[in-house]
Structure formats: structure tokens, C-alpha cells
């Protein structure tokens, strides 16, 4: 099989052509002479060229063909740029059980405890509701204290090699639900246990709907320095449109009352540890939500993630008309313009806008570079190795992540990780997801992982999912260079953001 061209041509909003090369993860100013030189190189070697030419007038007419040929030759010869051989870039065989055990013990970084499957709200888009028939379902089940403490002790034994090899190593300890505060005694027991037996080793985080943040509960969270992410979809009308209780009543007023009290009583904790998670769909007035965050400023928790209601395995969006999506896309476009202009001008943006739009551009800044090695058996996509995160369900079942549907567990607390099962999951990932990756021009910009791919009993790639990923990467590249072309010093790493990348990683699904 010949080498495949793995590049993305794109044009900045100002009309300048660029080429993203997935081998070197570099973005080159591009022009017709360079394109001709590369095409000639590819034709000479009998290689395949897939990258489509751009419409419109070519740019870069001032460049010489000699210089372009030298340019292409240099990047080909010195860095192997532009082309990838699918045959030599196939995944390595999965390690055997012993090898996997060693690997997981030396790299696992987060333990998630699903304290309960119950919730006091009935949010209309809830991942545990009938909206997502493949997911685990809401139930009254809660994790026992014995199970939770056993999970923590087991995990500490698992990651013991890292504790010795890396004195700065800390581990995420994430409390998840349902609504985890419905199981407060277990939360309290785990935090006390960790303080007593594993001081300084865990970074505790809690995802909550915010309605149960009573004074004693907040006191507990403050005492144990727990980072808290509160679901907040926007102003009252937006929030209560979907975040409702069993009788259909909104939750906004309760959440905001709790937030105001926390800010007033614990201002340092508020600034350091309180963040918000927001969800939107085609019915969301994004500009109103953004204005709400802008106007409220630090009266609201900093925005951590803003995610759309997932369209996978659900009929959720069937309730909307075709032009509802167009309206939302238009609003996203306007907000994107505003964010980019703020970056160009060096002005601040609301934390909601930084997250909604900014994270996509930061994703380009933080993209993997050629020296950032992935495991040889999972060389492409954004997936972690099963076991990097370990979600413990209420009954002790172990999953690769809190966001997966629970139909392909990796073990049970009673038996530990089933490495044979992990091997099978990796093999399935290699067979179902990775075969087309060596030919993909956006592997270093790909965030696909189990939570985007799972189906009943395993993982599978939806039709068009890769194409959508490539299209998204191209769009982000366009936005990225369009800002930096105007202001090369624009902060797209979000270095001035108050939310650290590690903090986002802990809450990342």
C-alpha cells in the first residue's frame, strides 16, 4: 500500500492558505508553488494524494518554485512530513495481561466513585434517563461505605509504583452520580478515610446539580478542599427549561441560593474550587446564556465545560425543526466571531465564552506533537488506555470511565481489573476504530474515545464520525490561525484562564 498524504489544507478567514501536516503536527503557510512541489514529490514516488485543493484564488504567488521544492524536500527528508505509510503505522499488538497490569499500575490517574444512581432532579436530557436507552439507568441504588473504602484502598495498592516513582504524583478522586450528595455519609466517610490514610495523595472533585449544597455539606467540602462542578445551564428560563425536579419544577432558584451563600461565606473556596458545567441543545439561546455569564461575572462559578446534549443513540433532537439547528449554528458563529476578536484585541471574555469557543482553539494549541508518544498499541485517536481512569459503580463493577454505558466493564472490585477483558476491549478498539487512522490527516487533533464510541456491549464507529472529526479539526485550525495571523501573541493557551488544564482533566468525561 502506498504512502498516504496526511495533510489538511485550509484558508484563514483573512484568505491566507495554510497546510496542517499530521506527521509533524506543524502548520505551514501554504501556496501554489509548495502545493505543486508536494504534488510532484507525491507523483514521483507513486503515492496517494487525497487532500482537496481549496476553492478560490490561490495565494502565495510571490514564492519561487525552487524555494518551494527545497522546502518540501527539507520537511520530507528531515522530518518525514506530509506522508504516512499505513503499513508501518499499524497498532502494535496489545501487551499480555502482565504487561497491561504493569502499564495500568504505572499510569492510572483517576478513581471515580459513582456514589449513587439516584437523583433528586429529573433533567430532561439526563444521560441516565430513557432519553439514552443504551446507558445505565437511574435507580435508587447507592454505594455502601464498605464498597467505597475498599475501592480507595484497592486503588492505592494498584497505583503504588507511581507513588514511589513520582513524588509529586497525585490522583484524582471523583465523586459522581446520579447526584452524589444523596449519599453524603459515604462521601464524608471516604474523605475522612483519605485524609487519615492517604494525606495529600488525592485531589477530590465532585460533580453535582447544586441543589443539595446545604451549609453543613459545603462545610465538609471546604474542609476537605473538594473541587466542585455545579451544573448550571444559564439564566433561570434556560436552566429551568430542562433542569427540573420530579414534579417539573425548576431548580435554578435553589442552585443560585446555594451558590450565593457559598460565595459569601467561603470567598477563597469559591474562587479556587467552584466551577460550573453547562449543557445546551438546539433550543438554547446561547447568546442569552453567554450574556448571563458575562453580566454575572464572578457571581457565577467559573465555566469548566460547555457541552451539547449528545446526539448519539438518542431521539432527543427529533423534537426540533431543521432551522432550530441553523439558529444555533448562527449563534455559535456570532459568539465565535466575538471570541476571536477579543483574543485579537487582547480583551477578556466571559468564562462561558472562553469555554464554549476558546477550548476548541486551545485544543489546537495543545495538540499532540511528534515527541508526545502514545502507547504503541493505541497509537491514534484521543482514547486513554482502559484503566487510566477507573469508575467504580455502586455495586463495585469497574468501568473505563463514568460516561460509558456500563455494558463492557473492565472488572469488579472483588476481583480487581480483568486484564483479559481489557485486552479484548483494546483489540476491539484496534479492529473497529483504528484501521483508518494511519490515513487520517487529523490524528493529532482527534479526541475520540470510548465515551464517544460506545454501543451496547462495546464500541463502534458511527458512519460519518471520522469525517465529522476531520471537519471539526479543519474548522478549529481555521479559527486558530485567523486569530494568530492578526495577533501572533494572542493567548490561545488560555494561560490567563482561572481553570487549570489539570482541573479540566479531572472533570473530563
Amino acid at each position: 500500500m502506498p504512502q498516504k498524504r496526511v495533510t489538511l489544507r485550509f484558508r484563514s478567514l483573512q484568505g491566507r492558505d495554510y497546510l496542517y501536516d499530521d506527521v509533524t503536527s506543524s502548520i505551514f503557510p501554504w501556496n501554489d508553488p509548495r502545493e505543486q512541489a508536494l504534488a510532484r514529490e507525491i507523483a514521483t514516488a507513486g503515492r496517494q494524494q487525497d487532500d482537496a485543493p481549496l476553492d478560490g484564488a490561490p495565494s502565495g504567488g510571490g514564492a519561487s518554485l525552487d524555494a518551494a521544492e527545497a522546502f518540501v524536500r527539507h520537511w520530507r527528508d528531515d522530518y518525514g512530513a506530509f506522508l504516512r505509510d499505513p503499513l508501518t503505522n499499524t497498532p502494535a499488538p496489545c501487551p499480555d495481561a502482565a504487561g497491561l497490569e504493569w502499564l495500568i499500575r504505572s499510569r492510572s490517574w483517576e478513581l471515580l466513585l459513582i456514589l449513587t444512581e439516584d437523583c433528586n432532579l429529573r433533567c430532561k436530557y439526563c444521560a441516565l434517563s430513557e432519553v439514552y436507552p443504551l446507558n445505565r439507568s437511574r435507580s435508587a441504588r447507592k454505594m455502601s461505605l464498605d464498597t467505597a473504602l475498599a475501592a480507595v484502598d484497592w486503588y492505592m495498592r494498584l497505583v503504588e509504583p507511581q507513588i514511589y516513582a513520582n513524588p509529586r504524583r497525585r490522583f484524582g478522586l471523583s465523586f459522581y452520580g446520579g447526584e452524589p450528595l444523596l449519599n453524603l455519609p459515604v462521601l464524608k466517610g471516604v474523605l475522612g478515610h483519605c485524609r487519615e490514610h492517604y494525606p495529600g495523595l488525592f485531589v477530590p472533585v465532585l460533580t453535582t446539580n447544586g441543589t443539595l449544597l446545604t451549609p453543613p455539606t459545603v462545610e465538609l467540602l471546604v474542609e476537605h478542599d473538594v473541587s466542585v462542578a455545579v451544573s448550571l445551564d444559564g439564566p433561570e428560563q434556560e436552566h429551568d427549561r430542562m433542569r427540573v425536579d420530579a414534579r417539573g419544577g425548576g431548580s435554578f432558584a435553589r442552585v443560585m441560593a446555594n451558590l450565593r451563600r457559598i460565595k459569601s461565606r467561603y470567598p477563597d473556596f469559591w474562587l479556587a474550587r467552584m466551577t460550573s458545567l453547562s449543557v445546551y441543545d438546539w433550543g438554547t439561546d446561547l447568546e442569552t446564556v453567554e450574556r448571563f455569564f458575562e453580566e454575572q461575572g464572578d457571581a457565577l462559578p467559573r465555566s469548566l465545560f460547555v457541552n451539547p446534549v449528545s446526539p448519539r443513540h438518542t431521539g432527543w433532537y427529533g423534537r426540533y425543526q431543521g432551522n432550530d439547528q441553523a439558529h444555533m449554528d448562527a449563534a455559535l458563529g456570532r459568539l465565535g466571531d466575538r471570541y476571536r476578536q477579543a483574543r485579537i484585541d487582547g480583551e477578556s471574555s466571559s468564562s462561558y465564552l472562553r469555554t464554549l469557543i476558546g477550548l476548541g482553539l486551545s485544543f489546537v494549541s495543545f495538540r499532540a506533537r511528534p515527541g508526545d508518544a502514545r502507547p504503541a498499541f493505541l497509537p491514534f485517536s484521543g482514547t486513554c488506555v482502559p484503566g487510566d481512569k477507573i469508575a467504580v459503580n455502586v455495586d463495585g463493577k469497574l468501568d473505563v470511565c463514568e460516561r460509558v454505558n456500563g455494558s463492557y466493564p473492565i472488572g469488579h472490585l472483588d476481583m480487581g481489573i480483568d486484564y483479559e477483558r481489557v485486552t479484548r476491549i483494546i483489540a476491539q478498539y484496534q479492529e473497529e476504530i483504528l484501521p483508518s487512522c494511519p490515513s487520517c490527516p487529523a490524528t493529532r487533533l482527534c479526541g475520540l474515545c470510548y465515551s464517544f464510541l460506545d454501543t451496547q456491549g462495546g464500541i463502534t464507529m458511527d458512519a460519518g464520525q471520522c469525517a465529522a472529526t476531520v471537519a471539526s479539526a479543519r474548522r478549529r485550525l481555521v479559527e486558530y490561525v485567523s486569530v494568530l495571523e492578526e495577533n501572533p501573541h494572542a493567548d490561545l493557551l488560555l494561560q490567563t484562564d482561572t481553570v487549570t488544564p489539570e482541573e479540566r482533566l479531572l472533570f473530563l468525561g
Binding site: S12, G15, R16, Y18, T24, S25, S26, I27, F28, P29, N31, S59, G60, G61, G62, A63, S64, A67, A70, F71, H74, D78, Y79, W109, E110, P161, Q162, I163, Y164, A165, N166, P167, R168, R169, R170, F171, G172, G200, V203, S365, F366, R367, A368, R369, P370, G371, D372, V481, L484, E485, P488, L493, P501, E502, L505, L506
Partner: protein
């Protein structure tokens, strides 16, 4: 409109007065005179070239394009510079294990010599004192000793430390303790290096300690003549004892190291010392230096055998970025002093942790050690104001940056990055294949 931008793998590195283009892939740099610097600065700021570009400037840019270091274009562009790794250092839950390579452990303050400069005091300036038996001033009277030596050695091994460097004073004076340490690490991947003046113990016993290969000796010499050695050490017999020891090692074919600790009185003899060590023991020695701070002639020191700044090309792109982001001299190292305190290296004063009080893991858990590892020349005075900062391999800049006297910061540097009569591009740096120059005639 025409534009010119440096290539993705070429960097305009600016100092206080001088500037250079670093060509990463082709491992070369161009020192720029003021006019070339101004031209390239304008280009890098995406300013269009004037329609009537002066001939010399046109020739300069033509030549850079010919060399693959930059390109003409008809539009402004964003040039995304080449990176080998993501531009972010993750900490805490996402931190990678530190690459611990070497631990320097001062196991004793005792010594049978009486060198005037030891322990190093505020009046001394040491270069590569870490490779010798030079003690730190103000150390504890009783050295810190781990409760459980085997466990301590095991912790070092789990950290991934490759070499445990035992220092003093003279570790050979703590013979029983030294043997216990050797016993504790025997069979582990941890290599032992012992720096000693070579006195205080019979050569045969030392030889036996080093047989088998896991223990290496670094013998610190002060000269090759007993008289000079006595002057430096304040005690006789050092040379008389060390030489037979080295003879014994050479005779047994057991490899070891030699480091000459030079002072103002002996450094002129360095070439002779080096030749002597090579001819008698077949070992090419290293040099370390001690200066009294008031001694620098004309405010500048010079490393032995070096007339100019030690410029050298990076061997790989990885090495270049390592120079940009790290202290290549101290990265991967930590020192445990006789007080049980952790410092980045024996030349650094800042305490980063307390092994005696907190145990090894917690002593290494803070950020200050790793901050010191990341102390590249981009962050220390005066190097951060020098355009040659990533081409220069003078490690004394890092050691001196860790010392407290700001007046001595540029002690060893033969090139002052501040404005002065001699500019970087006017000098001969002795590396014609690496250091090139762009001089444009006055407009």
C-alpha cells in the same frame, strides 16, 4: 506587497543588544548585526517589505531563502513554530515521573585534609565543586543518617535514580558506614560513585570495595607535586596517598575518575596535570575550580583551557528544546546534604525539601526542585539577555545563578550581553560551521 518570514524551524532569538537566527534543523546560527536584526524583526512582525528594498537587505533575505531559513511571500502569515512536545507542563494528577538520574549524597563532613577553601564559604566561588570533595559551609555537625539504610536505597531505586554519588568531606573516613551503603545497593541497578581525596584508607581495601563494577571512585587531586598539594590542602601527604591508590586501580584495570580541584595558585599547571594523569594512569581528568571572589582579574574569570565562550551546536532537535526549557547541568539531579536537606545540586543554596524531617518522597514532592531543573538560560542573569544563550554550554552560569552574590553573575562569561564596545557579531567564536554572521553595510 511582499513579506518575508523565517521558516517554521528557525527562530529569531534576541538578547539585550544582539540577536541571532537559530536554524534548528540545520544546526547553525547566524549572528545579526543591528541592521540585519532590525530587518528580520520587522519581517517577523509581519510588516510588508518596502517596494524598493535596499540591495543589501534584499541580498540578505535572498540568501536566507536560499539557505531554507526563511521565505518570501505575498501575504502576511502566521508561522507556527516547530515544537516536539505540547506546550504545556502538566502537574499533580497529570505529572510525568521526574527523570531522576543522579543523587549526590554528602554522607560525612569529616576530612583528613585542611584545605583553606573548604568548607566553601561566602568568599569562594566554586565551579564543578559538585564533582569534588568540597563541603558546604554551615553544615550540621552530625551528618544525617537514614534510619533504615536498605529501605532508603530501595526508595532511591524506585525513584529511578541511576547513580548515587557519595560525597564528603572524605567518605573513606566513614569506612564501616560506606561498606554498609555498598552492601545496601549491591544487586540493585543503582550505581555508586564515591568522590574522595583518596586519603585515609589503604589502597587494597578501596580496591576491594570497587571490585565487581558497581562502585566507581572519583579521586580528587590538588596537583601533581606534593609541595603544591600541601600549599593547597594545608596538610601533607594527600598526593603521596592518592597516587599509589590510582596506581593500584590502573594496575588492576579497574576504571575510575580523576578530578583536579584547581585554585588560583595551581590552575596554571592544569595542562601539565592533565598530561600527567593521562601518561601515568591512562585517565583523562576533569577540572573543577575554586576562586576567591575578590580574585577575578578585571571582574572576569576564564575556565581552564578556554579562551572564548564554549559555543556548540545541539546534536538533535530534542537537545535544542532541552536547552530552551531546562537546566541541562542540574536536570535530573538532587543533593542530600549532611544536614538531610534536599537541594538541586551541591552548588545550589536553596533548600527544596527535608529528607531528615519528612522522608525522601515528601522531601521531593514540592515544586522548587523541579523549578530549579527548569532554570534554563532563558531565566537566569545575565544569560537571558544574551542572544547566544541556547548555543552556549557554559554550565557555570547555572551554578553561579544558584549563589547569592549578584555581582558575580557574569564571572566566567567572556562576552557581556550588555551594551559595550565588542558585539557578538564582531567576534570570532571559533565554530565556523556553526556560528555564521550577517552583516549588512550601512545604508
Amino acid at each position: 506587497m511582499r513579506y518575508f518570514r523565517l521558516a517554521t524551524d528557525c527562530y529569531l532569538i534576541e538578547g539585550e543588544v544582539d540577536a541571532a537566527i537559530y536554524d534548528l534543523s540545520r544546526r547553525r546560527l547566524w549572528l545579526l548585526d543591528d541592521r540585519a536584526h532590525a530587518l528580520l524583526r520587522r519581517c517577523e512582525d509581519n510588516h510588508p517589505l518596502p517596494d524598493a528594498l535596499p540591495e543589501a537587505e534584499q541580498a540578505c533575505l535572498d540568501a536566507l531563502q536560499e539557505a531554507g531559513a526563511g521565505y518570501f511571500d505575498d501575504r502576511p502569515a502566521y508561522v507556527d513554530k516547530l515544537l516536539l512536545h505540547q506546550p504545556i507542563e502538566m502537574t499533580g494528577i497529570a505529572s510525568a515521573p521526574p527523570a531522576f538520574s543522579r543523587a549526590d549524597w554528602a554522607i560525612t563532613g569529616a576530612c583528613d585534609l585542611g584545605c583553606a577553601f573548604c568548607p566553601a564559604g561566602s568568599g569562594d566561588l566554586a565551579w564543578l565543586g559538585c564533582e569534588t570533595c568540597l563541603r558546604r559551609a554551615g553544615g550540621a555537625a552530625a551528618p544525617w543518617v537514614p534510619h533504615d539504610l536498605e529501605r532508603f536505597a530501595g526508595e532511591l531505586e524506585l525513584l529511578g535514580v541511576k547513580v548515587l554519588h557519595l560525597r564528603g568531606g572524605n567518605p573513606l573516613l566513614e569506612w564501616d558506614y560506606l561498606q554498609r551503603i555498598v552492601q545496601a545497593v549491591r544487586g540493585s541497578p543503582l550505581g555508586l560513585l564515591i568522590s574522595t581525596p583518596g586519603t585515609g584508607q589503604e589502597p587494597e581495601r578501596i580496591l576491594a570495595l570497587c571490585e565487581g563494577g558497581c562502585v566507581r571512585l572519583n579521586v580528587v587531586l590538588f596537583g601533581i607535586r606534593e609541595e603544591a598539594t600541601r600549599t593547597v590542602c594545608g596538610a601533607g601527604g594527600a598526593q603521596a596517598q592518592a597516587a599509589p591508590l590510582l596506581d593500584a586501580f590502573a594496575g588492576a584495570g579497574i576504571p575510575c575518575y580523576i578530578t583536579f580541584l584547581l585554585t588560583a595558585d595551581t590552575r596554571a599547571d592544569w595542562p601539565e596535570m592533565s598530561d600527567y594523569a593521562v601518561s601515568r594512569w591512562g585517565i583523562r581528568p576533569r577540572a573543577a575550580e575554586i576562586y576567591r571572589r575578590e580574585a577575578p582579574p578585571g571582574g572576569r574569570l576564564r575556565h581552564v583551557g578556554e579562551q572564548v565562550k564554549p559555543l556548540r551546536a545541539w546534536q538533535s532537535a530534542e537537545e535544542f528544546f532541552f536547552r530552551v526549557t531546562a537546566n541541562p547541568c542540574a536536570h535530573g539531579r538532587f543533593e542530600i546534604g549532611i544536614d538531610g536537606k534536599v537541594r538541586c545540586c551541591p552548588a545550589f543554596e536553596q533548600v527544596c525539601g527535608d529528607v531528615a524531617g519528612d522522608g525522601l518522597r515528601r522531601a521531593l514532592a514540592g515544586d522548587s526542585l523541579y523549578d530549579a531543573w527548569a532554570l534554563s538560560k532563558n531565566k537566569i542573569e545575565p544569560c537571558k539577555r544574551c542572544a547566544l544563550r541556547y548555543a552556549c554550554l557554559d554550565c557555570s552560569a547555572f551554578e553561579i545563578a544558584g549563589q547569592s552574590d549578584p555581582a558575580i553573575k557574569a564571572a566566567y562569561c567572556p562576552y557581556d550581553p550588555e551594551p559595550g564596545p565588542a558585539r557578538a557579531w564582531e567576534r570570532d567564536w571559533g565554530e565556523p560551521d556553526f556560528v555564521l554572521t550577517w552583516r549588512l553595510p550601512d545604508a
